[in-house]
């Protein structure tokens, strides 16, 4: 598996798209900091980008890579290697190279603008941890969709739809249910609904660490009480890990039976 991982990883690291992705983050990082020297303000703007774009890019990259390397996969499967290591190796190759681009692309500009001297280190760290989690989650989900759908067009549409659902539609339904059931106590409902969507969970985790959390008022206080404790942080990290583990397990399960 390590060999395949290594191969996929270096294949991607050498590919043009990884560099485009890396350059994109470098550009965003430097432009943001050039326009606004305040690191903590830049973290807020960056949050919007990470929470929306990272899942989108993870999804598209994952699904493209799977479909593109189909012949290679078939070739590999003819060799005496474990099926699991073929698929998981490819998945980890994509996910890790994307995460690396993210970490380097955003890390470099912030470090060069004096991240370690500022008090935004923790917020920024949390941002990167969340970004990495989102990359792992959405690449895994994309792989799942790609393995189920032989038809590329269909697979691609489903993948985009999944992103659209989690990034936009989910919040719409969430908002509507909050408005409709406004008469009922909604504290636990909102916490659970947030937990179930990795994008919302990342957004709230970052928001609560920033100054802007004061705007959240009473609701924010409940969230702060929950996510501010060690149990809360542990629980949300567990949920994010579960969001990675379940799709990855599904890749493993599917890979054992998948027919070509």
């Amino acid at each position: 598996m390590l060999k395949i991982l290594k191969y996929s990883f270096f294949d991607l690291v050498r590919s043009r798209w990884s560099y485009v992705y890396l350059l994109f983050y470098l550009l965003i990082g430097y432009v943001l900091l050039f326009l606004n020297h305040d690191l903590s303000k830049a973290v807020i703007t960056l949050m919007n980008i990470i929470v929306i774009l990272v899942p989108l890019i993870g999804t598209i990259f994952g699904i493209m890579y799977y479909y593109n390397s189909r012949e290679f996969t078939e070739l590999l499967l003819a060799q005496p290697v474990k099926r699991m290591s073929v698929f998981l190796g490819q998945y980890l190759g994509v996910a890790l190279s994307l995460s690396l681009s993210l970490l380097i692309g955003l890390g470099l500009p912030f470090i060069s603008y004096g991240l370690f001297q500022s008090d935004a280190v923790w917020e920024f760290g949390l941002l990167l941890v969340n970004g990495t989690f989102l990359t792992l989650i959405f690449t895994a989900l994309a792989f799942n969709i790609a393995m189920i759908n032989e038809n590329r067009i269909k697979g691609f549409s489903y993948a985009i739809l999944m992103w659209l659902f989690l990034a936009v539609i989910y919040d719409g339904i969430f908002l509507m249910s909050l408005v409709v059931f406004g008469e009922y106590p909604l504290d636990n409902f909102s916490i659970i609904a947030t937990m179930l969507n990795p994008i919302d969970l990342s957004r709230i985790l970052i928001l609560l660490k920033l100054d802007i959390s004061a705007l959240l008022g009473y609701t924010g206080a409940i969230f702060q009480k929950f996510f501010g404790t060690h149990t809360g942080v542990l629980l949300s990290m567990t949920i994010l890990t579960l969001w990675v583990a379940l799709p990855v397990y599904n890749i493993y399960r599917k890979s054992l039976k998948k027919d070509f």
Binding site: M47, D171, L175, L186, L215, L216, T219, G220
Partner: protein
């Protein structure tokens, strides 16, 4: 003959006055080694010159017109036993003392300096430390509170007092004071015609400045920073609020300025920067908001309940999370020629005024007002999308709530 004796009389009277207005020196190793002795010895109009040193005294009663003048900031230590100085006579001046350790009491409001039913008092250059109440003015008029430094170490609202407290006191000038770490920095109740200029009120537990039932007052050029909840103006009429700074009143229940049942006030040239809510407005009518800067607040303006005939002109709204929030669909207030940093319209005739009206209420702020829990969707992509669609074709926000002539460039 009569005239002559009158002259002599007047002469003697003058001489008498000159003799009377003498100066008594108080120091640790003088004949007069305490303020209490000094006050007892002094006659009306005398000056008590207090030399440098520490005087452990409390419950001092000033019952005649006196000037108490401290030299090199002598210390009066109340040892937490009670009130330190109480003035019950007119024309008393207290200058240059450091008063510390005022006793805390839950039944009587112990103060470092209390003025009771007196006129023409003047308190200046006084430093107060470790206090309960600082300067407490009770049913007194025509006084001056000038250039004092008050720094408390208040921890709880219930066990702390106010820095400068005015109760039923009119025509007072409060200038150049610095108040920090008390409950309310400056507090007014039933006090009219009070001028509060150039003060700095920071890090207080509750409000930097607090008005209750006080009319015709004016406050200008003050700085209110990092207080528990900013400045509160309640149940008062005709208050002038000009050129003040409201900064960093940041917390879940904080605001820069709270207006509750305020009528006919003027709010001009103030700066509201980084407050959770810039101005929280409830039941306030006929108020003129002109030339204020709202910078990086959570909400620049939060309008709740019946507010009629208010006008907002020439204000700058810069990078606030929400410019305006309204909880009703009716609007009787007018917005004209403000600058909104979120404005995206154009100006074809280049007269500096946007050709498209600006709608300051976002749909999301309307939803948050109705269902506060929805605030957790702050900065979600969905929220940006519905805000955009509401901006294009308004359905939920009040139709007539718009700025018909938004400025293209920031008002300088």
């Amino acid at each position: 003959m009569f005239l002559r004796s009158l002259y002599t009389g007047i002469l003697f009277l003058f001489m008498g006055l000159m003799v009377k207005a003498q100066s008594i020196e108080v120091c640790s190793d003088c004949a007069v080694n305490s303020l209490a002795k000094g006050i007892a010895m002094a006659k009306a109009g005398d000056t008590l010159l207090v030399q440098k040193g520490v005087y452990k005294e409390y419950n001092l009663l000033v019952d005649k017109p006196l000037t108490i003048l401290g030299k090199d900031l002598p210390v009066i230590d109340g040892e937490d036993k009670g009130e330190v100085i109480r003035v019950v006579a007119d024309s008393v001046e207290i200058d240059g003392l450091l008063i510390r350790n005022v006793g805390t009491s839950y039944t009587s409001d112990h103060a470092a300096i209390r003025i009771v039913r007196s006129k023409d008092f003047r308190i200046r250059n006084v430093v107060l430390e470790k206090l309960f109440f600082g300067i407490f003015i009770e049913k007194s008029t025509h006084g001056e509170i000038l250039n004092n430094r008050i720094s408390g170490d208040a921890e709880n609202e219930y066990s702390s007092g106010n820095g400068i407290h005015l109760w039923y006191s009119d025509h007072i000038r409060v200038t150049d004071n610095k108040v920090e770490g008390v409950r309310d920095g400056i507090y007014l109740e039933f006090s009219h015609h009070v001028n509060i200029f150039n003060n700095i009120s920071t890090d207080n537990l509750r409000y930097g400045l607090h008005f209750m039932f006080s009319n015709n007052d004016s406050y200008r050029n003050n700085v209110f920073r990092n207080n528990g909840a900013g400045v509160a103006v309640m149940f008062s009429k005709e208050i002038e609020m000009i050129d003040n700074r409201f900064e960093k009143n940041w917390g879940t229940a904080s605001f820069g300025l709270l207006l509750k049942e305020i009528n006919d006030a003027v709010i001009k040239g103030n700066t509201f920067e980084q407050n959770t809510v810039g101005i929280n407005i409830e039941g306030s009518n006929r108020i003129v908001y002109e030339g204020n800067d709202f910078i990086r607040n959570g909400w620049a303006l939060k309008v709740l309940g019946a507010c009629y005939t208010n006008t907002f002109t020439k204000n700058n709204f810069l990078s606030n999370s929400f410019d305006l929030s309204y909880n009703s669909r009716m609007n009787d207030n007018s917005f004209h020629k403000n600058y909104w940093s979120d404005y995206t319209g154009y100006d074809l005739d280049e007269d500096g005024i946007g050709d498209v009206p600006y709608r300051p209420v976002k749909l999301f702020s309307y939803i948050v007002n109705n269902t506060p829990e929805t605030i957790i969707l702050l900065r979600s992509l969905f929220v940006d999308i519905i805000d955009f669609s509401e901006k294009v074709s308004p359905v939920f926000t009040p139709d007539n709530l718009l700025d018909n002539a938004p400025l293209i460039r920031r008002r300088k």
